[in-house]
């Protein structure tokens, strides 16, 4: 297993370098100008000067190499310095990846955006799993029962109705009509005591509920079909004929076997938590990573888009590996060596 992981990690490195090059090339070929959002009153020669100072006019390869050095050498060193409170070499010599729209360090902005994205999407993910697995299990066990039919109906709705619709519906009902929840998310809010905690729960309630429904819908269908596959297997009949109680048959034998594909699916979805939910963040005005990405794309903020997409690429490659490793642990029949 150790050799397998090491091999996979080694393969991942060239993969990621190629990915970063491809992202860079695509962004370079795409039309866009960081000065396009300036008012028309800013004259063309000033725009040219701004593009020059941003390095927009540098040759493609030079920018890529510069970015690679900042991303793989400078920024990790900065993080190490900050975490361990030590200084390695002259920190001021290391140029950081600077956003073209804010002139702020890209990595700091991403770190600033992570908490809200992480909380909302992470909670929605956890709730989604907590709802989906029991619903999927019961639906499969009591196939075609009322519970199964209702569950199927709700998950079909959750899966097929887009979040920008359920989100707006939630705002109209719970913010406009009932006045329970605020319609925008305060990223500067700190939880210090009970009332501030209540406020935090309130401002997260709607986006988390909407995303949970969406996550749970797909996952519960997946759990259900995986359970159904296993329920008709021979080993289930054997377990029952041995006289095991139904609960044991269901939870120990069937569920455990059915979870293998479900766990893989969950692991592969985790990078999405970091990537943010662009539409949901936009509707509930949660200025998280998704909103950061979309506004960076609109503003032709190449360093920001480049860094964000690359981080997503790293996470996806990483969790693919993790999913494969977990698979091996869950299913002893699978051997990698």
């Amino acid at each position: 297993m150790g050799r397998y992981i090491a091999r996979r990690v080694l393969i991942a490195i060239p993969t990621l370098i190629v990915i970063s090059f491809v992202i860079f090339a695509i962004l370079d070929l795409a039309p866009g100008d960081p000065t396009a959002s300036l008012p028309l009153t800013v004259p063309p020669d000033v725009r040219e000067q701004i593009r020059e100072t941003l390095g927009f006019n540098d040759p493609f390869i030079l920018r890529w190499v510069k970015w690679m050095r900042q991303m793989f050498v400078y920024e990790p060193l900065n993080v190490i310095e900050r975490v361990f409170n030590v200084s390695i070499g002259d920190g001021s010599e290391r140029t950081r990846i600077i956003s073209w729209s804010s002139r702020g360090p890209v990595v700091d902005t991403i770190i600033e955006r992570l908490p809200q994205t992480f909380w909302v999407l992470g909670l929605a993910f956890v709730f989604g799993i907590l709802i989906a697995i029991p619903v999927g299990v019961i639906s499969a066990y009591k196939q075609y029962s009322i519970f199964d039919n209702v569950g199927t109906f709700v998950s079909m709705i959750g899966y097929s109705v887009p979040t920008f619709f359920t989100g707006l519906l939630a705002i109209v009902i719970f913010s406009v009509w009932l006045g329970w929840f605020p319609s925008f998310y305060d990223t500067t809010h700190h939880v210090t005591d009970w009332p501030s905690f209540v406020f935090q729960v309130k401002q997260m309630a709607m986006p988390v509920a909407v995303l949970s429904l969406f996550n749970a819908a797909a996952l519960s269908r997946f759990t259900r079909s995986s359970m159904l596959d296993n329920l008709s297997k021979d080993y289930v009949r054997t377990a029952r004929s041995k006289g095991l109680v139904e609960n044991r048959v269901l939870v120990i034998h069937v569920l455990r076997n059915s979870l293998i594909p479900v766990v893989t699916l969950i692991a592969l979805q985790i990078p999405g938590i970091f990537a943010g939910a662009i539409i949901t963040e936009q509707i509930f005005r949660i200025n998280g990573v998704g909103q950061l990405l979309i506004s960076a794309i609109q503003g032709a903020d190449v360093p920001m888009v480049q860094t964000l997409t690359f981080i997503f690429a790293v996470l996806i490659v990483m969790f693919n590996l993790i999913a494969d490793v977990i698979y091996g642990f869950l299913d002893p029949r699978i051997r990698y060596d």
Binding site: A36, G104, E112, R113, N247, Q282
Partner: protein, 602 residues
Amino acid sequence: MTRYRWLALVAVMALVLAACGTGTEDTPDTTAPSGDTGTTEDDSTDTTAAPDTGAGQGGTLTLLQWQAPSGLNPYLSGGTKELLASSLIIEPLAEFSPEGELVPALAAEIPTPDNGGVPDDLMSVTWTLKSGVLWSDGTPLTAEDVVFTYEYCTDEATGCTQSSLYAGISSVEAIDDVTVQVNFDGPTPFPYSAFVSYQAPIIQKAQFEACVGAAAQGCTEQNFGPIGTGPYMVTEFRTNDTALYSFNPNYRGVAEGKPYFGEIVLKGGGDAEASARSVLVLGEADYGWNLQVDPVVLNDMEATGIGTVLAGFASNVERIMVNQTNPDAALGDDRSEWNEGTNPHPFLTNPDIVKALSLAIDRQELNDIGYGATGVPTCNVWPAPPADSTNNDECLTQDVDAANALLDSVGAVDSDGDGVREYEGTPLRLLFSTSTNAVRQTYQELLKSYWEAIGVETELKNVDASVFFGGDPASPDTYQKFYADIQMYTNGSGSVDPQGYMGNWVTEQIAESENTWGGQNIQRFQSDEYDALQEELSQTADLARRAELVIQLNDMLVQSGSIIPLTWRGSVSAFTNTLTGVGNLNAWDSEYWNIEDWVRSE
């Protein structure tokens, strides 16, 4: 057994959700007009405020800017959103009022020829600072800071977005601690560009000294937290998200109890409609900026009765630019090239044809659908008083018959019976380009139908705004290249004074491959008479004569048929009804220009 355990879990979660719901009913957070969420922070201001004057006692003011500021240095990020956010902190020498008049900010008075601030030769202007103004860190503001601001922005490597405001200046010198003299390269009848309005505020020398030139981009701490003389100072800044401000205890108005609000939350994200809903329907915020929302929707929201929509008008006009050169793709590299006037458009250089196009338009209908109360139909390139022309008002009423007659009279008739007129053998077919934007596409559809009625065929095209307005010389779709017969967008003057703006259409500003399409004369308009008048304008100091000249320039542009003005566009914002002291919406300067006077009344 397990089944019930699962059900119990679901039930518990349902209870948790229900608890969230009931917990909110007894707290009036969401119905209170401002972010009451900050109640704990509000209390802390009582200790810092000077209780005797009442400054900073007003609690929290919540401003929504759905396009959030990316930075707080107006010299590096020149979008209106950043200018607004920084105008709470840093101030210029003088500001423009909503009526377009100059009001002293850091200056003691506006220098004029009458008070000796502007000499007769118009070669300089001398500003005197208010005495005793302090930066928020307690140090005094001096003339050195003003000189430094000039040096900062004019250093080429800084990449200053406002450097055009400092153009034409030979030097800026500090005469003494409170006197600054700005010397110009040539006579400057309107010397109020540098250091005036939220586009050109004074930054602190001590803070930005190490950030001049190439170092400017890396000065994150300074760019996100400038020290200023204004009523507020920034306490937390999150790029493209939120800015938190607290009132500046060193502000010169503190003795008079200004500013009223102790804290400001400037929140971004979402879109214009969500912002409008937050202010006008939910009362979650006190102010919502730039609410370009369908006028019907906005009216419905305003009818809730807890907020009011304000519109302010500067000089922005949605207009159709009429290509004076031939954009035929068959010309290859010569398409839309002026080539010293040798490449005229086959029919759009005929003023009567363009006049017919203009007469066929129902401007009122366009305005009602697109902008409602936040737009006014106009026939002028320069719409703002006192230099607004009345000579072109004929076009305000749609007159299809007159348009048809005009086309017939110049010989543009449908000779082959295909429903499209021909002029000297060329069918009147237009390629109409604009940026992607719901209102613009509605305008396009309507315009197409108006012109169909007079036998002119239109092909519509729209380009993503970041490409259309981006200056990429490699892209064929930019508005500068103008590879279309007509194109539509909004432009206006950054200054109250029209001189610089009207200077866009002189011959040397024609956009062409030679200057990599860097000129501002997008429609390739050329008139020696226009150039001479513009030259005269730049030498004339008399205000009445200046207005006269601007009207003449405006009429030449419109009557030449190179620009078809459509709508005078206002900026539109909404504020909650408990907020008083806002006054008229300022479209010439920062909408927050008088924020120190804003008060909450119950």
